[in-house]
């Protein structure tokens, strides 16, 4: 036994809270990372999918003979072939939910543009594409409906003939006494507010490589997903294979934003094709397909009514929410608008709400979780309504917010929607944002600008969100997370996280936490994820949960392994009491010590096994949170509108976010900037548009305006910190904060700029055309 009895002299620097550059990056900046499309297997075949060009049609016939005759084409399959394959799963459990059968290949009807009709498999991707062009499908075109309000109108075409009203579900949530609130009201304001369809557009499209080994009855599936374990469970069910013979690998994943928090037809189809032909098969989604068949976000038409007193006190809020669901339910489609309802009260103190959600079928691709998932819609709504109320009352939008904030002494704060806000000081964070931007000075500047005929706006959003998803009771497939910490016999440390980071940087931040807790050099630590044969079961990455749930699971695993290290250390030192710190186990009475690496080595050799302990040095922890966390913040945007062109210039963007404690502030900055870009994208540029025939008009980057570098403002970001009591790290989550905070700040800013023209509300996106019409006296 190589015990040293001298205390360690090298004390390691504490890393949590440091702006460490990422350990993920060397492979990414040198082009040596492995995304799904980079996976190449021996005798790999390629699949290309034939898709519907119509929004609604009956399939009269499919002729695959020409495609099959093409040299290099190995197989062509249609909906008639997929007997026994399960339908695409949906995790929602709303009462009375109507669930259309969502087959992986269309049966006798197509329900949206892009609906998969056939799959062509060839030895080469170009030949597979040639083959797909040779598949001849005859359609009997039917009338489509793509606008959710039109879908609800009497006589509208039925998306699914068995449900002629196009209603998939209705959902009600009431809190407090809404009738009393509206009876007491001195003022009521109403507004219809839309949150348009958005296309998530991860830069890496989806892709799948499936490798079925017939003799082992085993499947290896590489797929670009945020939820490797959940996807394996659900796909195993669809394919009728055993989970323990099914290895799912999420290799490098090129962005998700919720769009890869799902289980898709193509994942099951590619696997099924591999099983059918007994060869590895690759399918890579084109960008056009990504626009057409990967989920969209948002898709709301909301009718708000807010009741208040003349002094600005908000009494209650009513909402009728029409959710454009699309033609089918993907994994969480019906759940998303229910999150909007939960978030309705925002940061405000009122306790009376009434909400009705009407989930509506349309001949469009399903909506589902897209960065923020339900909460941006709600936050945009409440933040717009507060501004509209302030305008109605002639109050300053800052003043009305201070008047209605939940106070610090009210936490934990039970909301009218049944949530329990964990911690916060909303007024303090807001004040910091106001001071940073010099709010009162700005209002003076604005008065001068207006006097000079310029259209300057100041937009405020004080947002809250529901993060760290979440308690299992509130999550369709479990809301816990898992972590394994293992010392290798050499003393090196491997961490396995059940989360599935794809850009968020946990290979770095989790190593920081591990290094600090164990006193091990960070270079001795490796963090692994995204492979179901390596990592214990986990839930995955979404809902700003990596750190606040996955990090908490890791923290508890680290505490448990520290206890084990102490017990083995005490046995090695023959001491009754030992202290563990800085990577060393010390007998305080004698001054003798052993390093954690020496303890780990001894635990594997089994030389000294304390009574009641097992050999080895591995701990796995599953951790269930007791609550969500509730980050919040204040975003303020100063803008100026060019009346002649309708252009909007963002002059300043100040964000003060409170996300609790931070493991690595450099990563936090990146999350906030990226989130803000997506939120500004919704406010100003992005919209997924279908025409009345069901064609996706914005089907490429050519017609869908993504935020580019020259369009983005400089974001002045700072923080306040009220640690969350929900988890031991005090972290709240940051993945979605920027997206939720930015959108209403931008819209409020432009509405404020145009308020001298009598403008009270503008629906997103605020395109120059829309703004020009307003500044030139036309109807937007």
């Amino acid at each position: 036994m190589s015990t040293t009895f001298a205390p360690s002299t090298t004390k390691l620097e504490k890393l949590v809270g440091k702006r460490l550059r990422r350990r993920e990056d060397p492979r990414l900046i040198t082009g040596t990372a492995t995304y799904v499309e980079d996976v190449k297997l021996p005798d790999m075949h390629h699949a290309v999918i034939v898709r519907s060009p119509h929004g609604a049609a009956d399939i009269r016939s499919i002729d695959i003979s020409k495609a099959k005759a093409l040299p290099g084409v190995v197989a062509v399959f249609t909906g008639a072939d997929i007997v026994g394959v399960g339908t695409v799963p949906c995790g929602a459990s709303l009462p009375g939910l109507r669930r259309p059968d969502h087959h992986i290949l269309a049966q006798d009807r197509v329900y949206l543009v892009g609906h998969p009709v056939a799959v062509v498999v060839a030895t080469d991707r170009y030949i597979a594409a040639d083959g797909a062009d040779l598949v001849e499908v005859e359609y009997d075109i039917k009338q489509a409906v793509t606008d959710p309000e039109k879908a609800l109108a009497p006589g509208a075409p039925a998306v699914h003939s068995q449900w002629p009203d196009n209603v998939a579900f209705t959902f009600h949530q009431n809190g407090g006494d809404i009738d009393a609130a509206f009876a007491e009201a001195e003022v009521v304001v109403k507004q219809r507010i839309t949150s348009q369809r958005l296309v998530p557009n991860a830069m890496e499209t989806r892709g799948v490589v499936a490798d079925w080994k017939t003799n082992d009855r085993s499947l290896t599936l590489y797929t670009s997903t945020q939820i490797p374990h959940l996807a394996r469970t659900l796909l195993a069910g669809m394919l009728g294979i055993e989970e323990n013979r099914f290895r799912l690998i999420a290799p490098e994943v090129g962005g998700g934003f919720g769009s890869k928090l799902n289980v898709y037809s193509e994942e099951a189809l590619t696997a099924w094709v591999s099983m059918k032909i007994g060869k590895p098969v690759k399918w890579i989604e084109s960008r056009r397909e990504n626009f057409m068949v990967t989920i969209h976000g948002r898709g709301h038409v909301d009718y708000f009514e807010i009741a208040a007193k003349r002094d600005g006190t908000i009494l209650g809020l009513k909402l009728k929410l029409i959710q454009d669901l699309g033609a089918f339910h993907q994994l969480l489609t019906p759940v998303i608008p229910t999150l909007s309802v939960l978030m309705m009260p925002g940061l405000y103190n009122f306790r009376n709400i009434q909400a009705e959600v009407v989930g509506t079928f349309t001949n469009c691709v399903p909506t589902d979780a897209y960065r923020g998932a339900g909460r941006p819609e709600a936050t945009h709504g409440i933040e717009r309504m507060v501004d509209i109320l302030a305008a109605e009352l002639g109050m300053d939008p800052a003043e009305i917010r201070f008047k209605n904030f939940v106070r610090p002494d009210q936490f934990p704060f039970p909301t009218a929607t049944g949530l329990n806000y964990d911690s916060g000081d909303y007024a303090n964070t807001f004040q910091k944002a106001l001071d940073t931007i010099d709010y009162h000075g700005l209002r003076k500047q604005q008065a001068e600008a207006r006097a000079a005929g310029r259209l300057m706006g100041i937009g405020i959003s004080t947002y809250g969100e529901i993060c760290a998803m979440g308690p299992s009771v509130a999550t369709p497939a479990g809301g816990w997370e898992s972590a394994t910490v293992k010392f290798e016999p050499s003393g090196k440390v491997t961490v396995l996280t059940g989360t599935s980071p794809h850009g968020q940087g946990q290979e770095t931040s989790f190593a920081q936490l591990t290094a600090d807790e164990l006193g091990v050099p960070i270079d001795d630590i490796v963090v692994l994820h995204g492979d179901t044969s390596i990592v214990q079961y986990g839930i995955g990455t979404f809902g700003s949960r990596n750190t606040a749930v996955g990090g908490a699971a890791l923290f508890y695993a680290l505490q448990e392994i520290k206890e084990k290290l102490k017990k083995f250390g005490a046995a090695m030192l023959k001491a009754e009491e030992v202290e563990l710190g800085d990577g060393v186990c010390l007998n305080p009475k004698t001054g003798e010590s052993v390093t954690v690496q020496e303890i780990a080595g001894a635990a594997y050799r089994g030389v000294v096994i304390p009574p009641g302990m097992d050999p080895g040095m591995v701990v796995t922890k599953f951790w269930e949170p007791a609550n969500f966390t509730y980050p919040f913040g204040a975003h303020i945007i100063v803008s100026e509108v060019d009346a002649e062109t309708g252009d909007i210039e963002i002059k300043r963007y100040v964000a003060v976010d409170d996300i609790g404690n931070q493991l690595n502030p450099l990563l936090v900055d990146g999350q906030l900037h990226g989130g803000a870009a997506q939120g500004l994208g919704q406010a100003l540029w992005e919209q997924g548009v279908y025409d009345d025939n069901g064609q996706l008009v914005t089907g490429e980057f050519m017609d869908y305006t993504m935020p580019r570098a020259r369009m983005m403002p400089w974001i002045e970001s700072s923080h306040t910190c009220t640690p969350s009591p929900v988890n031991p790290l005090g972290a709240k989550g940051v993945g979605e904060a920027g997206t939720i905070g930015s959108t209403p700040a931008m819209v409020n800013s432009v509405v404020d700029a145009l308020s001298p023209l009598g403008v009270r509300h503008i629906d997103m996106p605020l395109t120059p055309e829309k703004i020009w019409k307003l500044t030139n006296g036309r109807n937007a």
């Binding site: 040198t30 040596t32 980079d38 900055d669 990146g670 989130g675 870009a677 980057f701 050519m702 993504m706």
Partner: protein
């Protein structure tokens, strides 16, 4: 039908028989085996596929391999030195946290190198204009702008 092409990729000579319709990006990824260059949109609008052809940044998703016959092509794999020393733009991207998922990054690095070769001391506005052909969905571009500015100071 196939045509023979001779070209240099990252300083190494290659001769291959290729279909005239083979895209340069597919040639680089699947024939040469360099998968650092990524296909993001197939329509030259996202820039993930940016490589250098004869010293100029080019979107390899909308160029045929046969058009690169005789050319010198540089991909992201060709930037670091033979000793593994990173190019200053790569180093700056790492230091400034200019990437998250990393999918757009090879293209971003190639175009950033080009921006600085054309203008060694760009303003932030010029950097943003220079990045206009490249999309990133993760970073909001702020750290990418920082990285290009930092690389400029390091003297590319």
């Amino acid at each position: 039908m196939n045509r023979t092409i001779n070209l240099s990729v990252n300083g190494k000579r290659h001769t291959h028989q290729v279909e005239p319709r083979l895209l340069l990006i597919h040639y680089l990824r699947e024939v040469v085996g360099l998968t650092g260059t990524h296909m993001g949109c197939e329509t030259s609008l996202c820039g993930a596929c940016t490589v250098e052809v004869n010293g100029k940044a080019v979107k390899s998703c909308t160029m045929f391999a046969v058009q690169a016959d005789g050319a010198d092509v540089v991909t992201v794999e060709g930037l670091a030195g033979p000793d593994g020393k990173l190019h200053p733009v790569q180093e700056a991207f790492w230091n400034e946290h200019a990437l998250q998922c990393g999918f757009c990054t090879p293209g971003m690095i190639m175009v950033s190198k080009q921006i600085l070769e054309r203008n060694p001391d760009p303003t932030d506005r010029e950097i943003r204009e220079g990045l206009d052909g490249n999309l990133c969905r993760c970073t909001g571009y702020q750290h990418i702008v920082n990285a290009v500015r930092t690389a400029a100071k390091a003297g590319v």
